[in-house]
């Protein structure tokens, strides 16, 4: 079953009942968004999917906007978690960079649902100031994470002095751009080939010497 939040937290403490209900609702939102798309999702359909009544749903999330903001936060938390679980803080920056590329590859190649939902959320957020702010802030977090790796690489003398902000955007743009095209064309091209090509061509710009 499609899930964004696990019942048990990764920190291995048990979630309170309140939190676990919230997680269930977030997961139900995920399934609704994927099945119905952005234009048909409502508090009613989400309540039904989560098997709670509407007043309970409103107790946890005051309105659809508030629910979707929490949903976007959870979606991006998962992206960040998926990147960070691949390396340790003490790992060298080149290993961290590889982990970032590999997380991007996995996200596009193996998580169609999450990718499609990201674009649905994009469409939903564009006209809503609060949702858009959430979206924008979360993008900032991911690009900040890549930024830090690039800066660390420079400080350790492995990477070139590059505008890390530009490069992190460049990487994020590639990941979402290739996914948009790949899924829309019915996965008509070899995704791995393009990831390899992208990585092979960006590395010489980042690394001081070709690794």
């Amino acid at each position: 079953m499609l899930m964004l939040m696990e019942k048990k937290s990764r920190m291995e403490h048990t979630l309170t009942k309140h939190d676990s209900k919230k997680s269930e609702i977030i997961n139900a939102t995920l399934r609704c968004l994927y099945e119905k798309g952005a234009e048909e999702i409502s508090m009613r359909t989400i309540a039904k999917e989560a098997k709670v009544n509407q007043s309970t749903l409103h107790y946890y999330f005051q309105n659809k906007e508030n629910l979707l903001i929490n949903f976007i936060a959870a979606l991006f938390d998962k992206f960040i978690y998926d990147i960070e679980k691949q390396y340790r803080h003490s790992d060298p920056p080149e290993k961290k960079l590889d982990a970032i590329f590999s997380a991007g590859r996995t996200f596009v190649g193996r998580q169609k649902e999450l990718f499609v939902i990201l674009i649905h959320c994009w469409a939903l957020s564009m006209r809503n100031r609060t949702m858009r702010k959430e979206f924008s802030d979360r993008y900032e977090k991911i690009s900040g994470l890549i930024d830090d790796v690039l800066k660390e690489g420079y400080q350790k003398g492995i990477f070139n002095k590059i505008t890390s902000d530009t490069f992190s955007n460049y990487i994020i743009a590639f990941v979402q751009g290739i996914g948009c095209q790949w899924y829309m064309t019915g996965t008509s091209f070899n995704l791995n080939k393009f990831f390899d090509l992208f990585i092979a061509n960006i590395k010489p710009l980042i690394f001081k010497k070709t690794p």
Binding site: G37, A38, E39, E40, V116, I119, H120, W122, A123, L124, S125, M126, R127, R132, K133, F135, S136, Y139, E140, T163, D165, T166, F167, N169, Y170, I172, A173, F174, V175, Q176, G177, I178, C180, Q181, Y183, M184, T185, G186, S188, F189, F194, L197, F198, N201, I202, P204, L205
Partner: protein, 203 residues
């Protein structure tokens, strides 16, 4: 080239423009045949005469939306230019698109989000991508023939170009903090040149 549009085509164009405005303002979720008729200043039966259903209208709309994208690129191209100049022109067209067309990225995300669930719309996306591949590949092919570009597999440059322009545009128009688009195009141009040019031209 100018065509003499029939009255029927002119009316259809007015409706498609109204649809664009409606999607931009309200999103696909918020639009209806009623709101589009109102925006186009025609009555609903009249709208139904031109487009039998909302689905039919959205399909025609998507087709027109992409036709304009192709048109925007081709107007940057001069057939007599050498292929490396054409490549630069395509990159300029891409940059122009990312910088100036915020509205269109919004509408793009809307129709993407709808088309992923509707095969008839998805087909229009696929045809559009194919047409873009053909356009860009013809330039690359010309460059290979002339000995300016290295041999490179078909579609590679076109897939990368579309990836970069769509991805950068989507990111740019969602983030509050805008990034330096010129610098991002600079990286992309450098990587493309590494792939295409012989010797150290791209290094």
């Amino acid at each position: 080239m100018k065509f003499d549009l029939t009255k029927h085509e002119i009316k259809k164009n007015i409706i498609l423009n109204a649809t664009y405005k409606c999607i931009f303002r309200q999103g696909i979720a918020g639009i209806s045949m009623r709101s589009i008729a109102k925006e186009a200043k025609i009555n609903q039966p009249n709208l139904h005469y031109y487009f039998k259903s909302k689905e039919n209208l959205l399909i025609e709309f998507t087709r027109a939306f992409f036709a304009r994208c192709i048109n925007d690129i081709t107007k940057f191209l001069k057939p007599s230019d050498p292929p490396d100049k054409k490549l630069n022109a395509i990159l300029e067209a891409g940059k122009d698109h990312v910088l100036k067309e915020k509205e269109r990225y919004m509408v793009f995300a809307e129709i993407w989000s709808l088309a992923i669930k509707k095969p008839a719309m998805q087909k229009i996306f696929i045809n559009h991508y194919r047409e873009l591949y053909k356009l860009i590949d013809s330039i690359i092919e010309e460059g290979i023939q002339n000995g300016v570009f290295k041999e490179i597999e078909k579609n590679v440059v076109s897939v990368l170009f579309i990836t970069f322009v769509e991805g950068t545009g989507l990111l740019q128009h969602m983030r509050k903090k805008s990034s330096d688009i010129n610098k991002q195009f600079d990286i992309f141009t450098r990587t493309l040149k590494r792939m295409l040019f012989k010797g150290d031209a791209g290094a």
